[in-house]
Symmetry: C2
């Protein structure tokens, strides 16, 4: 077995164990990781210093951005502690595995349960942010998945130090976790390889071929990275690409609301994937002046550059209006076709006039990235049509696209934002890391006894009532009490 | 736009409309398809005759199996009517789209709903069984998806005739469906391209590149086909490959139960993907004689050939036992390593002796295809461990693997059985053809107002109670009544 296959195989072995452990056992592993990282703090920060020193030289040589350098740094005030607190937070979340999603009585004594379970082995590729190792490791363990991680190369030394501590913690915790569920004599659980890191792009290329052992690839990064991976593996990919979000200002939209939402969506964090890149304005707003006031606020108060279609540009550049923009006339520019397919990730907004909501929806469905799109309207009927007809992970009514985020949605933690259309869509929390299996409980039942014809039995297909987020244990205790 | 891109683009346009239509409108389309197919029966059977005549020559030349020829035939007694009835059955199923899966109050007036919605455009590749066109078309429309279909080439004329009728029906129904929801003056809905068929393997290769327009590929067929597709597209693939199912006869298993379940699982339809291919027997059953009796029933009463590991083979071939097998001693053979990775799809069963459940689970996790695996045991604790520790879409306790089927599970219809580990697993019904979007309903809410710090608001993250399978309309009516 070559080295890469061994990594994948070991991850699968760990996944086989992880899928069987209890919530209490997961807690034991997470708490050991927390303690071990706390006591390894100085080692980890020393490794971080090595990465930072190397990165600083790159920054000075103009080969690396200072924002990347900043993200590398684990020494900033409270940063290490926040990273540790994240483990505790994830430990407190509801265990996503073992929940009964569906239950059906097929016949007397023959019951079918659809129960959530881990996906298995995850391969996660992410940027040079060392705390992500800890975050993803905790999410993986909490959901019962093994993980193979590859961080940005600038964070290599830090990630290695963190990973070493996690590995030691998983090793140490194996005995305590086994005792917790199986009693004093239990053999220690071997989960040492539950979280592994790999170093190079070449390792990734090898791992993408390990479809026998790896169940899902989660690339966080550029569209180019995601596409490269999708073309080079048969393992399902949960794509976390960038976002091209739009806001449509409908005919009945009010100025104050439009100002508040659009300013928030464009200016609070322009580099985020949930920031708005395209503004679609119903032509009725060109006269009277909602559009002009909105544009003025964006340009003058917030320094946004508008790339406008001919109609909206002419509207803003007419003599009586141009004066509103004071010395920022250069922030009003003509758009070209490409601008409507561009994620600016800065204070630039493409603007297009539309004659109807249908035109707005068609534009979004053709040019958007199916991330998050909003309509501003006073009409509920119109909002409903927009939310049904726009094909995106998030469809918003009178709210900023910036709400598209796992923490804001209340998931407690997120793996990223998926622009996939299968498995998991939008902000992905722990629920995106589980799938389900069907458990069938019988008593010697044979399929040949059922169906049409002489002596055959019909299926009952009676739905068994399940409480929201009920575990199979809870459900079966309740059913025994009822019997 | 080349021809293939045009097909994909047209499908996307249809999907944009389909995602907005009501359950009643879907019914109108399905009923039109039903009527149109009924009235086109003679044309369709004439086309079927052409396919059959061509196929018969192939069968005579030994180039095609007679079972394939039989599956082509639409003229058999009741076959056409069963196909038509399938449309009515699917029409009666619960609409999988528009259901609220999760609802959260983020703040006053800011509510987040996770609502099921169609995946979008499906590319479905299937065997030469013409009634599958009708079945998949009905499933696609009911779930709100557009579909591009490619059947086995032997069924081409029949599929074309069916597809022509479906196209005409979708065209005819557009006006009636629009009126149903929007009133007399509504423009007809254009869903003519909701279901398209393509002819050649080359078309498929082209369509696999249309990731801008196609959202999911569903290949039904051989492992080789599924793998070829997975390696040649970045579109998510819902793999419907074959199954290597196992049954583990645990220490406490009873003979009668084991006979009943194993005979059913191996002999009722050996070519099915849910038939059992490997029998794992706890070594305690070699003496006394559960294993010998079970083997005798399989071999003598049902003509099964057993490919045995050395220990089990020696057990059956000892003098006092061999006599049980009468003239079928040749049905007892030594296995080789490959047999445990082989889907025989005929009356052949690989047999392996194991010393423990752990060994059985390890064998299944390494050699199985994650389709369906069963344990036969009187011990609930052991069954639970098996069902947690075996990584398969179906994990059964004292029941035949042949139950793994959408109709038997009560789904009413199935697209196939997925051996994927993401999106949808096991038998896939209408629910596997939907995903979700997040609807956020606000009133001018901006993300910048929330968080920690001076003047910022916390998120409420209050769960809104949702009934099982409740639509957003029902939920919002109820909430208005409560207000």
């Amino acid at each position: 077995m070559d080295n890469i296959t061994q990594i994948a195989f070991n991850a699968r072995q760990a996944a086989n164990v992880l899928q069987t452990i209890t919530t209490a056992q997961k807690s034991i592993f997470l708490n050991h990781i927390h303690s071990k990282l706390a006591s390894a703090k100085s080692d980890i920060l020393a490794a971080n210093k090595v990465d930072k020193d190397l990165a600083l030289k790159q920054v000075e040589a103009g080969k690396l951005s200072s924002s990347l350098y900043k993200r590398l740094d684990l020494e900033g005030p409270g940063k290490f502690e926040t990273m540790l607190q994240g483990i505790k937070d994830i430990d407190q979340l509801d265990d996503p595995a073992g929940k009964v999603q569906q239950a059906t009585k097929l016949d007397n004594g023959l019951e079918l349960y659809r129960v959530s379970c881990p996906v298995g082995v995850l391969l996660v590729i992410f940027e040079a942010r060392p705390e992500v190792v800890v975050n993803i490791a905790a999410l993986a363990i909490k959901s019962g998945n093994a993980a193979i991680l590859k961080g940005g190369k600038e964070s290599f030394h830090t990630c290695s130090a963190i990973s070493k501590a996690i590995r030691e913690a998983m090793d140490d915790a194996g005995a305590a976790a086994a005792k917790n569920a199986e009693g004093e004599d239990a053999d220690a659980l071997n989960l040492t390889d539950a979280v592994q890191i790999v170093e190079s792009r070449q390792d990734i290329d090898g791992l993408l071929k390990q479809d026998k052992y790896i169940d899902m690839v989660i690339p966080r990064g550029s569209n180019a990275l995601v596409k490269h991976i999708q073309w080079n593996t048969r393992i399902p990919v949960l794509g976390h690409a960038d976002g091209l979000c739009s806001i449509y200002v409908a005919e009945s939209a009010k100025l104050d609301l439009a100002k508040k939402v659009v300013v928030d969506a464009k200016t609070t964090y322009p580099a985020a994937c949930n920031s708005t890149e395209t503004l679609l304005v119903h032509s009725s707003h060109l006269d009277p002046d909602l559009f002009q006031q909105l544009a003025r606020t964006l340009v003058v108060d917030h320094g946004v550059t508008l790339k406008c279609d001919p109609k909206s540009l002419a509207n803003l550049q007419q003599e009586s209006v141009a004066v509103l923009f004071q010395d920022k006339a250069d922030h009003l520019q003509a758009s070209n076709d490409e601008d409507y397919d561009t994620e600016f990730l800065e204070l630039t907004l493409a603007v297009k006039t539309v004659e109807s909501m249908t035109e707005a929806m068609d534009h979004i469905n053709e040019h958007g990235s199916k991330h998050t799109d909003a309509i501003l309207t006073e009409s509920e009927a119109e909002a409903k049509k927009f939310m049904a007809g726009v094909d995106a992970a998030g469809v918003y009514w009178n709210a900023s696209t910036r709400f598209a985020d796992g923490f804001r949605y209340g998931f407690g933690a997120e793996v990223g934002v998926s622009t996939n259309k299968t498995h998991a869509r939008g902000p992905v929390g722990l629920e995106g890391l589980v799938i389900y299996k069907y458990q069938l409980h019988g008593n010697g039942h044979a399929s040949g006894d059922y169906g049409a014809g002489e002596g055959k039995r019909p299926y009952l297909h009676e739905r068994i009532k399940v409480q929201d987020k009920e575990s199979l244990g809870e459900l079966s205790n309740k059913r025994q009490r009822l019997d």
